[in-house]
């Protein structure tokens, strides 16, 4: 359950109902945020590292103040577990996708307790969402990747057929990456929906596992249930690296936005992988 807020910090959310902020470089625990009633499922930091939002099985989304560790706002409205949460680029809106099939847009500026808008187009739980500029990408268990274009006022639906576990934009914003439960990661052209590449070989059948692109869009990385992180070349689609992380399922991974630095999460421990040959830092978390 790792996520790099920016390059230097990482947030880990765990089943102990708390959220922990770590320093990536030093591997020290900076702060613990507790206030959720159930396991924390996802978290995101705002662009200025001033706020953290997290979501939990207790159907709430919580906006934290990073420095004080206080709950700035507790947003209720989802009818089920909230799977994923993210700030928009300016940190003015929190978007949260829930198992109830809706994405709710919460305003962090006003004191309103209702969501600004509820996107209920998904016919099943929303498993993943990403925001990039004016676009919102959601992956749903109904096997569709939806891209809401706020500027155009359009909704593009790409049918993948298998439940989506993770979606993300490429760094250049031209492609979308989506991993689904048919053990495939697909790179789709954003504008047309055509498939540019399909990356297989890993195992993803029952877990909601992450995938991501490297910082320079050269590689596609995905978690796997066999305890490896798979790394494919984006253009060729060939498996370039099979990183053994552990025996259990690699649950989450995150790539450093600028450097070649990878975070993986497995069984209550977050590992930091550097680019230098086989140099791995290990941050052991007691979650």
């Amino acid at each position: 359950m790792a996520r790099a807020a920016d390059g230097n910090y990482l947030l880990s959310c765990g089943s102990d109902k708390s959220l922990k902020l770590w320093s990536v470089s030093r591997g020290t625990l900076l702060k613990t945020y507790s206030g959720h009633g159930y396991e924390v499922l996802d978290a995101d930091g705002s662009y200025d590292n001033g706020q953290i939002c997290s979501c939990s099985s207790d159907k709430t989304v919580i906006l934290w103040d990073v420095a004080t560790g206080q709950v700035a706002r507790k947003l209720r409205g989802h009818a089920g577990k909230v799977n994923c949460v993210q700030f928009n680029e300016e940190g003015t809106v929190i978007l949260s996708g829930s198992i109830d099939g809706t994405v709710r847009c919460w305003d962090t500026r006003s004191r309103r307790f209702e969501a600004i808008q509820v996107l209920d187009e998904a016919t099943d739980g929303v498993s993943s969402l990403k925001v990039a500029q004016h676009e919102l990408l959601t992956g749903s268990v109904d096997g569709r990747v939806r891209r809401y274009d706020l500027r155009m006022g359009q909704l593009h639906v790409d049918f993948i057929s298998s439940p989506i576990t993770c979606v993300c934009f490429s760094q250049d914003g031209q492609c979308t990456l989506s991993s689904s439960l048919d053990s495939a990661v697909r790179l789709l052209d954003k504008s047309t929906g055509e498939m540019l590449g399909e990356y297989t070989g890993h195992k993803m059948k029952g877990y909601k596992l992450d995938c991501c692109l490297s910082s320079k869009d050269t590689h596609v990385l995905s978690c796997s249930e066999d305890g490896h992180v798979y790394c494919w070349d984006l253009v060729e689609g060939s498996l370039t690296l099979k990183l053994p992380v552990g025996k259990a399922v690699v649950q989450s991974l995150s790539f450093h936005p600028t450097e070649t630095c990878l975070l993986t999460a497995m069984e209550g421990r977050v590992q930091v992988w550097g680019a230098e040959p086989e140099e791995t830092d290990e941050v052991v978390l007691a979650t």
Binding site: M1, S15, Y38, E39, L41, D42, S57, K59, A79, G80, N83, N88, E90, V93, I99, G101, C105, D107, I116, Q117, E121, T123, D124, G125, S127, Q133, H134, V141, D142, G143, Y148, L150, M152, G153, Q154, L155, H156, V157, D158, F159, I160, S161, S162, P163, T165, L181, D182, S183, R186, T192, G193, E194, K205, G206, Y207, K208, A248, V249, Q251, E267
Partner: protein, 844 residues
């Protein structure tokens, strides 16, 4: 009283006289200004200020401030404590002096003038009494009369000092003689209209005649003041309510109470001069009321009716005026003589009167005078007449006009009305483009048909039989079988060039339309198996057969000739504006089967991509720093359209599409819905081996209670381990059955799909549906413990399923949690179905 004989008595002294100065007393030193101090009742010095507030400054130098300056009320507003709304009352600006006994708003209870006792202002009382006569309850001033003002006003005091006495009028004293003359004149004037009232005047006159000397003057008679008491109540102006004279005295109100004519009967009665004894003092009177205890005379209570009051003769004596029931207004008949108009000399019909108002005069304008040299013959100029432009006129008439040189020129063709223009001219005027497609009906026909028509026209013996043959095609089509239809479609489409503007019968469903067009293409090429080849192989048999029929029918209906005809029409929108409608998302997602097939072929792109209009919230746009893509539209989300609320088939299409959403399962696992299996059994069987395939639960099962679901799930899980056979057996009869089950079936039908061993357990849960299912409750409880530590494998999965179901009503989602316990993996249990149907229409 006062007499003007003495000179001294002419003076009237005002005020209290100063004490006479004593000569020997030393003169008092005037008090210097700084020693002229005033203290208020509390001993504080008061500062002289000016005219207001009795010459003393109020507050702090007549301000609301203090010595330290003006301090506003402390304004407090924070997140916790909001500033309360401050309402300033006038009392906030008053000091205790204002609230004291003599202040503007005395806080103590004091007697006011109106409610103190002993002294009476009779004039006002009279006025009140006059008013009270018109009130609902006569004499309601009684209470006020008891409490009379203790203190008469300063005006009264002054008047009294000047020698005025109560009961007198105010003004110069008058001699009785002159006054009498005046009243005499007045009396004469009114004598015709008013009965000589037995009023005080006449009595006085009589008295005065006896002993009034010449030089004695009298005070003028008192005038009853007009009572200016404000109106209370919500009745309109002029409303007088129940007339007390009518109601209580048993007689009609004699007249309107006129304040300025004191001779009126009620008033004279009020003033105490009127008929005592002749009338009863009060109380309700009338036939039905009997005699009250206060009445002194026994009246005829029980009215005896005598026959003399009735007319016994029919058409006997006429009622006086001889109008025979003519009910003209009384005044007209009376005034007839008076208003006899001198201007009208003729005899006025009886019952009619001359109008008072003169009728409006009609102004008549004389015709213009003709010039002297005018000859009533007109000569036309030949050049101005162009008969060729008279399109609507028959040639004969035009000729006649031309010869007679009559004027019949239309000004401009544009002004001749739209009916004189043909469509081409109108189009040019409107700036429209030339219609695409054939311009004439003849061009739409096949060449042989056109020839035949031309022949018919030439021979001018067209009969209906020919038309019948030309139109017999469609009739034959309907009667013949599908194969025949296919042949026919083939015949009509073969060799036809693909027209760009063909009719699109499946426009709503793009993939279907694409398939249809493929079929048409094949037809044009003369392919005999066009239908079979163009159908989607990924569909079930039943769907394909249905689509096959549709395609053939559509291709016959919209055969090329008529398709070119349709180019001239615009197709209607699919909107239905009925009364009983429900909002349904306008853009439905297309057929999932096609997409499924496309995904399998890895043909992502157009086939899998769908784009809808989506309206973001205005605030969301603002927060994202993005201009609103649809400024001015209040819509948020997907555009909705109204659909018939009660049509099951509305939702049938929805469920269908959702139903087929069910398959989205990893293709590797080979889990497919039952729908697909029939056709592709062989292919799938290869993938299917050993894999736990879950049959897609029909949507109705999803609607049942959660308890049922969990059991069902379990049962289906168990079942799926072994018997594939049973499932396949059901498939033959399934398509229609399942479809209707999805809509109508209750959970009792689930029995068929579950294995026999589970059926009785299911029965039990069904009975418990209403209550909270005990097992579910347990599971739910366990689930909370699961979050902290994983318990046994099977239970935990069930628990998770259960929580998902319990929490999310209607949502039945694959459990995609960020997993912690690896036990999840080992169970290999996953939910296949994800139907989401709007539960409303399918509720049993």
């Amino acid at each position: 009283m006062a007499s003007d004989s003495d000179g001294d008595e002419d003076f009237v002294s005002y005020g209290t006289p100063l004490e006479p100065l004593e000569e020997d007393e030393p003169r008092k030193k005037p008090v210097p200004l700084h020693e002229q101090t005033v203290k208020d009742e509390k001993g504080r010095f008061q500062r002289f200020h000016g005219a207001f507030t009795g010459g003393f400054s109020a507050g702090y130098y007549n301000t609301v401030g203090s010595k330290e300056g003006w301090a506003p009320a402390t304004f407090v507003s924070s997140r916790q404590q909001k500033a309360e709304k401050q309402l300033a009352r006038p009392e906030d600006f008053m000091d205790d002096e204002d609230l004291g006994e003599h202040g503007i708003a005395p806080a103590q209870i004091t007697t006011s003038q109106e409610f103190s006792s002993s002294r009476r202002d009779e004039a006002r009382e009279k006025a009140r009494a006059v008013n009270a006569q018109a009130a609902l309850i006569p004499g309601d001033t009684l209470l006020e009369e008891l409490i009379a003002p203790a203190r008469s006003s300063i005006g009264v005091e002054l008047l009294r000092k000047m020698g005025w006495k109560e009961g007198q009028g105010v003004g110069p004293r008058v001699k009785r003689k002159a006054r009498r003359q005046q009243t005499g004149v007045g009396a004469r004037v009114y004598s015709s209209t008013m009965p000589p009232a037995g009023s005080e005047d006449s009595e006085d006159d009589d008295d005065d005649d006896d002993f009034a000397p010449e030089d004695v003057t009298f005070a003028p008679k008192d005038v009853t003041p007009v009572d200016f008491s404000p109106r209370s109540g919500v009745r309109g102006l002029g409303y007088r309510g129940l007339d007390p004279g009518m109601a209580l005295l048993g007689r009609a109100a004699p007249e309107h109470i006129d304040l300025f004519k004191p001779q009126s009967e009620t008033r004279s009665r009020l003033f105490g001069a009127a008929q005592r004894g002749s009338r009863r003092g009060g109380g309700v009177a009338g036939q039905a009321f009997g005699v009250g205890a206060l009445e002194d005379e026994d009246e005829d209570v029980y009215h005896k009716d005598s026959m003399s009051r009735y007319d016994t003769e029919l058409g006997g004596e006429e009622p006086g005026d001889g109008l025979y029931g003519w009910t003209a207004p009384q005044q007209y008949t009376k005034r007839r003589d008076k208003s006899k108009d001198a201007s009208y000399l003729g005899k006025i019909l009886e019952g009619f009167t001359l109008t008072q108002r003169a009728g409006e005069e009609k102004t008549i304008f004389p015709p213009p005078t003709l010039p002297r040299d005018y000859r009533p013959v007109h000569r036309f100029h030949l050049t101005s007449v162009s008969v060729s432009r008279l399109s609507g006129v028959s040639p004969a008439l035009a000729e006649a006009l031309r010869t007679s040189r009559g004027h019949m020129v239309k000004e401009e063709p544009q002004q001749g009305g739209r009916h004189q223009l043909d469509s081409g001219q109108r189009r040019a005027l409107l700036g429209e483009d030339v219609l695409q497609g054939p311009s004439s009906v003849m061009e739409l026909l096949k060449p042989e048909d056109r020839d035949r028509l031309l022949n018919l026209r030439n021979s001018s013996n067209a009969t209906d039989s020919r038309h019948a043959t030309s139109s017999a095609l469609s009739g034959a089509a309907s009667s013949s079988g599908l194969h025949q239809q296919q042949q026919e479609a083939l015949a009509s489409w073969r060799g036809v060039q693909s027209s760009t503007q063909s009719f699109k019968p499946f426009e709503k469903n793009p993939s279907k339309q694409a398939r249809y067009e493929l079929y048409l293409d094949r037809l044009r090429q003369g392919d005999r198996d066009a239908v079979e080849q163009s159908l989607d192989s990924g569909m079930t048999e039943w769907e394909r057969s249905r689509e096959r029929e549709e395609f053939v029918r559509a291709s016959i209906l919209y055969r090329p000739s008529s398709s070119s005809l349709t180019a001239r029409f615009t197709s209607a929108k699919h909107d239905e504006d009925d009364g009983d409608t429900v909002e349904v998302s306008r853009d439905q997602e297309g057929d999932v089967d096609d997409k499924q097939a496309a995904v399998k072929m890895k043909m992502f792109g157009k086939l899998t991509r769908e784009t809808f209009e989506w309206h973001p919230d205005k605030l969301l746009c603002k927060r994202f720093n993005v201009p609103d893509p649809f400024p001015g539209s209040g819509l948020v989300g997907m555009p909705k359209v109204k659909r018939d609320k009660f049509s099951v088939f509305n939702f049938l299409t929805v469920t269908e599409s959702r139903e087929t959403t069910a398959p989205p399962k990893p293709p590797e696992t080979g889990k497919r819905s039952r729908w697909d299996i029939s056709d592709q059994k062989k292919k799938i069987k290869e993938e299917e081996e050993g894999d736990a395939s879950l049959p897609a639960c029909s949507s109705s099962e999803q609607q049942t209670a959660d308890g049922t679901k969990s059991v069902d799930q379990k049962s289906s899980d168990k079942k799926s381990n072994g018997d594939e056979e049973e499932e396949e057996d059901e498939e033959e009869s399934r398509p229609p059955m399942d479809l209707f089950k999805a809509i109508f079936a209750s959970s009792s039908d689930e029995k068929s799909s579950s294995s026999e061993g589970e059926s009785e357990e299911e029965e039990k849960t069904k009975e418990d549906e209403g209550k909270v299912e005990p097992q579910a409750l347990n599971l739910f409880n366990i689930s909370s413990s699961v979050t902290s530590s994983s318990t046994s494998v099977t239970v935990s999965t069930c628990a998770n399923q259960q929580t998902g179901n319990l929490k999310i009503s209607g949502t039945f989602s694959q459990m995609l949690v960020r997993q912690r316990q690896p036990s999840w993996l080992s169970t290999k249990k996953r939910f296949s179905p994800r139907h989401h149907i709007n539960p409303a229409p399918i509720i049993r």
